[in-house]
Symmetry: C2
Subunit: 476 residues, 2 copies
């Protein structure tokens, strides 16, 4: 498994590496009970090989799923990097004590019944934290789905499937949302460099994970589902640093008071004031979105295209209506249409039929073939008054969605100017959509969604610009 | 074709019936030139039989595509119900004269080059209108894609495919948007009772078509893409009447000033002030949405479920996070969470594990099986403080998405209370989604989209309530 080795080398030496590329792992509470979490996690670690050894720990059985088991973690004959703990909450402080004594470097606590269950659970968390800190052991959880590292093969979760390898680092504070997103990502072919649920953040929190994924060269964007910020200072300082090199996109649940109350009953922690948080996100260069769907759109868009240097979008279309709908959404999001320069209008006059719109949106008319698209895009892209392009295609009598997509590939890497596309329709445009997506031109079913995505890109640039201008603490 | 006959009988006697269920049709300007509109329309009329006869009209050929052709419409040996005109703009006034003389009842003018092309084109339109009015002939177009009536089989358009039969009446002011929506509907299995592009509304306008589709028992909802309102009084008066019995959902392009300017250059007509229009829509009981995707979501939701009597939504979920996200969207749209009655809380206490959320969203916890879902939904549905239900499912260890969907079917028809669902994920929930959709419980991939759909349903109810309260002209 040379690839796994390479991935491990890349990650070595960073504090949380043990959670993503362990050499040895133990499942404390491994059982054979069908449908149990202790069985599913052991099986997931075995069926998706991570290149290391797995040890079941169970005081009552000589083996679990045919693998030799040990009564206690201290009995395992090798030093264990990562322990996955699934025993009942009251037993966990003792288990962690034993892990520390055995030199375990990190533990993922899957078990529930802590802070979210009341004061006794909170007391258990305090005991665990104290023991782990003394023993310099890091902990993810409790009350979480676990950790997947698709690039090393590690699946230390009780999810029903393994995520695809890719470049998105996804951190969720809801295990259930993780499983839904995982299922969705397998259908949409979205791949991950890391995929984890962090539970109630007894130890490892947002700041640690953003730092870690920020340093990881295989992670190109960080996508976060957050219910509570926890250690706000750690989050913001990590985000400030990492956002400069890779996008951090967040959806914060509990943005409204009613929802925040619901979140509090769910996680046992109160969400902070929304206005304060949103301002803090902006100042840290984090892009905050409002819909689950936007999370992954934006991860894709920001990892495929350069950020715009300004808010002015040029829309190029073979049909008036979709151009107007895209304009509506752009303006409603407080975006701007680029004003075409005289040079651009003259150049377009030379290649377009006389009836073209003579303005932005640039309507190159219903009979536009691939060549007209390519020439018009080239001219529009050169306009210094424009900060980005949205190319819309609707299937009409003379339209060739596939060949037009092929022609557009040449513009996939415009200097400092993003290009997005909307190939509208179903089967007729599917091949073209595929070509554009593979050429790193993000493609949307609806032109209004594409216009919103461009505006979000600009907001991200704008937030980052604020970051460069704000003085950072000495030593940064 | 008994079914076609039935459809025709149902429609007989209404003024626009000739456009949807003609007995005879002619294509004026039919040719064999590959890729031409005149060839495509003739071929579409032949390959999708509408149960009547088609006559090509071409002064230069004895036959077109093997079908006997006639030099002029007056030469056709039978009385022609519907003429489809594709000849160049300057010839159209003469063609319409001949149609009137030959007793043609209706014409669809596909040709472009009228109002949108300048003052000469506008003059041609005036001539055509005058002649048609004198001859009592109705006209759809010019500058349009044409008309499809999937229930009779008629395809009088130059689109590349035929729409599926169904219950949505779709009217678009953009032919290009039509073709994109058509392509999309074939993939998503959305069916239509009528599917047409109305072009620049020289004669038949919004009011006529809303009246017609309002009377058509096969049309359960009317979906409109509008660029300009044209005869506002006719639109509003038809909408007021029809909205009481079936939903009218509209997306208005050019809601922002920048977009309205673009629309003006595109259609040759200025969009009215947005505020005035939106107020007029509300007072007419029309639901105006902001995104293309919402158009069809809402057509589906409103045709499958009863309208809520108030704004208060109850959310029932097996995971906290998605419930919180749905709450955020509901509140951001100015919706309301239902406050559970004491009876409801006590009843839920009897059937749920002690850790349930004790509030709305009702978190029935991650280990909820089909029976717990069914019992909790039954209790929540009976609460008089609630106006509708959203049931969310995320695939977790003990979840059975398919059997839970089966259990939910029993609640598809709650008395005066809509039920929506969000089965989150991909392959694991696909079968359950299918079961729910077939049981008329609209199902969404994202819970926040579902919450927005509920709020739109309430807005529709609210607009209608205003309609009942406003005095209508005497005789209504």
């Amino acid at each position: 498994m040379a690839d796994t080795e390479t991935a491990r080398e890349t990650l070595l030496g960073r504090p949380l590496v043990v959670f993503f590329a362990p050499r040895t792992g133990a499942v404390i509470g491994a059982t054979e009970t069908p449908g149990s979490v202790g069985r599913t996690i052991l099986w997931n670690l075995i069926r998706s090989p991570f290149g290391g050894t797995v040890f079941p720990v169970n005081p009552k059985r000589p083996s679990v799923l045919g693998i030799k088991a040990y009564p206690k973690i201290g009995d395992v004959p090798e030093r264990v990097d990562l322990a996955v703990v699934v025993t009942p909450a009251p037993t966990v402080p003792g288990v962690i004590n034993e892990c520390v004594a055995a030199g375990v470097k990190g533990a993922v606590i899957i078990s529930a019944g802590f802070k979210e269950a009341g004061p006794e659970g909170a007391a258990l968390e305090r005991q665990i934290r104290e023991r782990a800190r003394r023993g310099k052991m890091r902990i993810i959880g409790p009350n979480c789905l676990g950790v997947m590292s698709p690039l090393t093969g590690l699946n230390a979760t009780f999810a029903g499937a393994m995520a695809r390898p890719g470049s998105v680092g996804f951190i969720s504070q809801s295990g259930a949302l993780c499983t839904a997103i995982l299922d969705w990502s397998l259908r949409e072919l979205v791949g991950f460099s890391a995929f984890l649920s962090i539970g109630s953040m007894l130890d490892v929190g947002w700041g640690d994970l953003i730092d870690y994924l920020g340093d990881d060269p295989r992670t190109r964007s960080i996508v976060i589902y957050m219910e509570s910020i926890g250690d706000a200072r750690a989050f913001l300082s990590a985000a400030r640093e990492v956002a400069l090199t890779k996008p951090i996109i967040i959806i914060k649940a509990g943005r409204t008071e009613a929802a925040a109350r619901a979140a509090a009953s769910h996680t046992g922690s109160l969400a902070g004031s929304n206005e304060v948080l949103e301002a803090a996100f902006r100042r840290s260069g984090v892009l905050s979105v409002n819909h689950i769907a936007d999370l992954f759109y934006m991860a894709e868009v920001l990892s495929k295209q350069p950020r715009p240097k300004g808010p002015r979008l040029t829309i190029l279309t073979n049909a008036g209506g979709p151009g107007v709908l895209a304009t509506d959404e752009l303006i409603l999001q407080s975006g701007e249409l680029a004003e075409l320069s005289n040079e651009t209008i003259e150049a377009l006059d030379r290649i377009l039929p006389p009836h073209w719109s003579h303005g932005n949106p640039i309507d190159i008319l219903g009979d536009a073939g691939p060549d007209r698209y390519a020439k018009a895009v080239e001219i529009a892209a050169a306009d210094p008054n424009s900060d980005g392009l949205l190319v819309i295609l609707t299937p009409q009598a003379m339209t060739d969605p596939t060949r037009t997509a092929e022609q557009l590939q040449a513009f996939a890497k415009l200097e400092g100017k993003p290009i997005l596309a909307s190939w509208m329709g179903g089967a007729e445009v599917a091949e073209g959509e595929g070509i554009l997506n593979r050429a790193n031109i993000p493609t949307f079913s609806y032109p209004d969604t594409a216009a919103r995505a461009f505006h979000y890109m600009w907001l991200y640039s704008y937030n980052l610009r604020g970051l460069y201008e704000t003085p950072t603490p000495a030593g940064d």
